[in-house]
């Protein structure tokens, strides 16, 4: 008999403006891509049910504004995070160089209890653009940086084509699960209903 205990895993997506944070989230949760996403103002999140070892989790994925100027909001949005996803655009060196800033800013603002071991996952997005010809950050370079920061898991993704998105978020969920010690949470009925129906239709994909 599988346990029906619910747990909430909170994931924050950070990265420069326009690297594809909203698109990655929507591709993972809704399996959709749009060219018409607006710049995120403030923050928003989507939830998705995931299953591990017969246990059901609610993955709460937070999408935030990418402009540094909005970082003062982080305190409110980052708290209680179980995993942080750092996204850059493989076609933009600046967005890659900023990963370190985003990582440090997150650790300061979220102030997790064990910052040394707090799980991050890095995504190099937009690998589809121009057939890879406009790429400026090599996979090797990215992996080297991830290794230097305590072996951060790394994925190369295309939110547009869905490449590696599912795999990346599986990893994100697993890492979130390792860090979050399965806090029991209360979910309002409305979300319960939506969640269980989602589970019925999409349960097998886990």
């Amino acid at each position: 008999m599988p346990s029906r205990r619910r747990t909430l895993l909170k994931v924050i997506i950070l990265g420069d403006s326009g690297v594809g944070k909203t698109s990655l989230m929507n591709q993972y949760v809704n399996k959709k891509f749009s060219n018409q996403y607006k710049a995120t103002i403030g923050a928003d999140f989507l939830t998705k049910e995931v299953q591990f070892e017969d246990r059901l989790f609610t993955l709460q994925i937070w999408d935030t504004a990418g402009q540094e100027r909005f970082q003062s909001l982080g305190v409110a949005f980052y708290r209680g995070a179980d995993c942080c996803v750092l996204v850059y655009d493989v076609n933009s060196m600046k967005s890659f160089e900023n990963l370190n800033n985003w990582r440090e800013e997150f650790l300061i603002q979220a102030s997790p209890s064990d910052p040394e071991n707090f799980p991050f996952v890095v995504l190099g997005n937009k690998v589809d653009v121009d057939g890879g010809n406009s790429r400026v950050v090599s996979e090797k370079k990215a992996r080297a940086w991830c290794a230097s920061k305590g072996n951060i898991p790394y994925f190369e993704t295309s939110a547009k084509e869905g490449t590696n998105v599912e795999e990346a978020f599986q990893c994100i969920a697993k890492n979130a699960l390792k860090s979050g010690e399965e806090e029991e949470i209360y979910l309002p009925d409305t979300i319960d209903v939506a969640a269980s129906s989602q589970q019925r239709t999409g349960g097998c994909e886990c």
Partner: protein, 656 residues
């Protein structure tokens, strides 16, 4: 949640005698009484008191005396106070004043509470507070009878004494007032009757409320909604007397303004329209037209002397109905022969209540935004146009002339340009004006924003600016004029985009103070849930609801906000209005910060603009000076004290 004991009038020795002789209406059980009362035909006067006066000024000798009545009509109880003919105590009080203060058949379903004053010296008086939070002027019982007045009310409807102030009697405290209309200023804390030890009162209370609702608003869907929510939100409230007395003044102010407005408004479209509607009703109908929310009270028949259309009272309960937008013909009447705006206050008021027709926006927005001053002439405006255009071109050339070689060595310029280019291609692309590849208007957005980031180099570019510029360019269809209008708008909203976000934070702070004033239970709820930072309203405030309404409605809202007619900070009252519309859901579903943020984000596209504006207007009037006191000086969109200190350049700035 606060919990406190409910006190009932039956516990009160003052009322013991009147209760004994009264019909046992409060001890009735559920439906039996309801049936007997609602089946009665016609109106029955259940209370009549002569020599009940109001004092329209602070001078005790200036009073208007009249007759106070309680009338039972179907399942409803109505209150009237009609001044005597030709008996003014002072020559200064005209018949008009009298009619201004006349209380014509107010159903108790519209009344929130009654406060009793029984000073040891002087006359007893009562203040009747409407559901909207507004109050009638104090009614002085020169011949006594206040006690009987309350006792009679209690015989017919549910009346409960406030726990915190024994002189406050809460009336009809059953339905979620928000759903009813605007309305209510809920000063006071709420408790759930269901949780209180005295929940046995529930049957009689709901029986009244049902009767009342069905009679008054039989067809109205929102009442059904109330019915559903009523269980959770029986919120006996007690009222702060200082605030109440303030409202009493506000009421007078509102009435005076309104009567002046009525005098001025001959031939005014929406007034005459409302009057026409009234004319169609039978003479003995008391009609309340609350636009699209309330249905006429056709079932409430009252004696003929109460039949006069009480337009005056309506704005006390809800903001005024929206008018049709300002058109070119009417616009020309606001201009004198030289092209100056004769009365900018009147113009702003007109736009506040109706907005501007599409085709006229191009012209009128320039005034609203401050590109043209109201007292400029046709000739001056014509003279200035090419000058501003050339000024714009000069600034634009500052970045246009940057060569590739120079740009290579100018990281901040490249980054700023890249950021703008990323954002303009995701700004309002669903609007045909910005649709399609290589759209020249999208390029124009980029040019203006980049030029602005040179004009105001310290502030630079920040996400959200493209949202603010896009409707302006759409309306102006002219690059340099759009730029200068945007500059004028950013003089007010620039602090929203400061690096330390202080502009937004000061507005969110003011918002929290306004909610504390206007909806204390909701404030307490947010406090309990650790949500007082109001970050869930961040998007609303940063870009003035741009993402919450469709393009057309956003423009309508903005032109109303830009009038600064009732307040420079009407947008904060709009925030309060929207929150209040959903308060029962927010509290009922025990939303925490996360769910609240999600809920607020998902309201986008589902907010009724006109209703929200009317709520906001009424809230703004209700809050009055207390509301403005919640908003620290200099809070955007107020103009900052010192323009020069507005943008604090910081060294750690890595995006220009």
């Amino acid at each position: 949640m606060h919990e406190f004991d409910l006190h009932y009038l039956s516990d009160d020795a003052d009322y013991a005698d009147s209760m004994q002789q009264g019909s046992a209406s409060m001890t009735r059980s559920g439906n039996s009484n309801r049936n007997s009362s609602s089946e009665q035909v016609g109106a029955e006067i259940v209370y009549l008191k002569d020599n009940v006066a109001i004092h329209p000024t602070q001078h005790a000798w200036e009073r208007i005396r009249g007759r106070l009545k309680l009338i039972k009509q179907g399942g409803s109880l109505l209150m009237t106070w009609i001044p005597y003919e030709g008996q003014s105590s002072s020559a200064r009080l005209s018949e008009k004043d009298k009619s201004l203060y006349t209380i014509r058949a107010v159903p108790f379903s519209d009344i929130r509470s009654i406060r009793r004053h029984t000073p040891t010296l002087g006359w007893q008086y009562a203040i009747v507070v409407l559901s909207s939070g507004l109050a009638f002027p104090p009614l002085y019982f020169y011949n006594g009878g206040l006690k009987e007045f309350l006792a009679t009310i209690k015989q017919h409807i549910f009346l409960v004494r406030s726990a915190e102030d024994a002189n406050i009697f809460l009336v009809n405290d059953l339905q979620d007032p928000l759903q009813r209309t605007l309305s209510s200023l809920e000063l006071p804390r709420a408790i759930s009757v269901a949780n209180s030890p005295t929940s046995s009162i529930a049957p009689s209370e709901s029986s009244f409320s049902r009767t009342d609702s069905e009679t008054i608003d039989k067809n109205s869907a929102f009442i059904q909604q109330n019915g559903r929510q009523r269980q959770n939100h029986n919120d006996p409230r007690h009222l702060s007397i200082q605030v109440l007395e303030k409202f009493s003044l506000v009421t007078r102010f509102a009435r005076e303004t309104k009567s002046q407005f009525l005098r001025e408004a001959h031939g005014d479209g929406f007034i005459s329209n409302a009057m026409r509607k009234h004319d169609k009703k039978p003479n003995n109908s008391f009609v309340v037209e609350y636009n699209d929310v309330h249905k006429p009270l056709e079932d409430v028949h009252v004696p003929a002397d109460l039949s006069e259309y009480d337009y005056d009272k309506l704005s006390l309960v809800w903001g005024k109905p929206r008018q049709p937008p300002l058109g070119s013909k009417e616009w020309s009447t606001f201009l004198d022969s030289e092209g100056k705006v004769k009365d900018s206050q009147a113009l702003r008021k007109r736009i506040f209540y109706g907005g501007v027709e599409k085709g006229l926006r191009k012209e009128v927005w320039r005034f609203l935004l401050g590109y043209h001053s109201y007292d400029s002439t046709y000739a001056e405006r014509e003279y200035l146009a090419p000058i501003r255009k050339s000024e714009y071109e000069t600034i634009k050339n500052q970045w246009k002339s940057i060569t590739k070689e120079q740009a290579k060595r100018f990281t901040k310029f490249r980054e700023r340009k890249a950021l703008i280019e990323k954002d303009v291609v995701r700004t309002d692309r669903s609007i045909p004006f910005y649709d399609g590849d290589d759209n020249s208007n999208v390029k124009c957005l980029r040019d203006i924003l980049l030029t602005y980031s040179f004009y105001n180099f310290d502030l630079g570019y920040c996400q959200g600016m493209s949202d603010l510029l896009s409707p302006i360019l759409y309306v102006m269809e002219d690059e340099s004029q759009s730029f200068w209008c945007f500059v004028a708008l950013m003089e007010r909203l620039g602090p929203n985009f400061n690096r330390d976000q202080n502009g937004v934070h000061s507005q969110l702070f003011a918002l929290s103070k306004l909610v504390e004033l206007l909806d204390n239970p909701l404030h307490n709820y947010f406090q309990q849930k650790d949500c007082l930072n109001y970050f869930f309203c961040f998007r609303w405030v940063l870009i003035q609801f741009k993402r919450e309404f469709d393009f057309e409605k956003t423009m309508r809202l903005w032109e109303v906000l830009w009038t600064h007619y009732l307040s420079e900070h009407l947008h904060l009252y709009v925030c309060v209005a929207i929150l209040r519309r959903h308060r029962s859901k927010i509290i009922g579903e025990e939303m925490d910060f996360d769910t609240l943020l999600k809920f607020i984000n998902e309201l986008s596209g589902h907010i009724n603009l006109d209703a929200t504006l009317r709520d906001a207007e009424a809230l703004c009037i209700c809050a009055g000076e207390n509301g403005e006191a919640c908003i620290p000086p200099g809070t955007p969109p107020s103009l900052p004290f010192e323009i020069t200190s507005m943008y604090n350049q910081q060294d750690d700035d890595d995006i220009l």
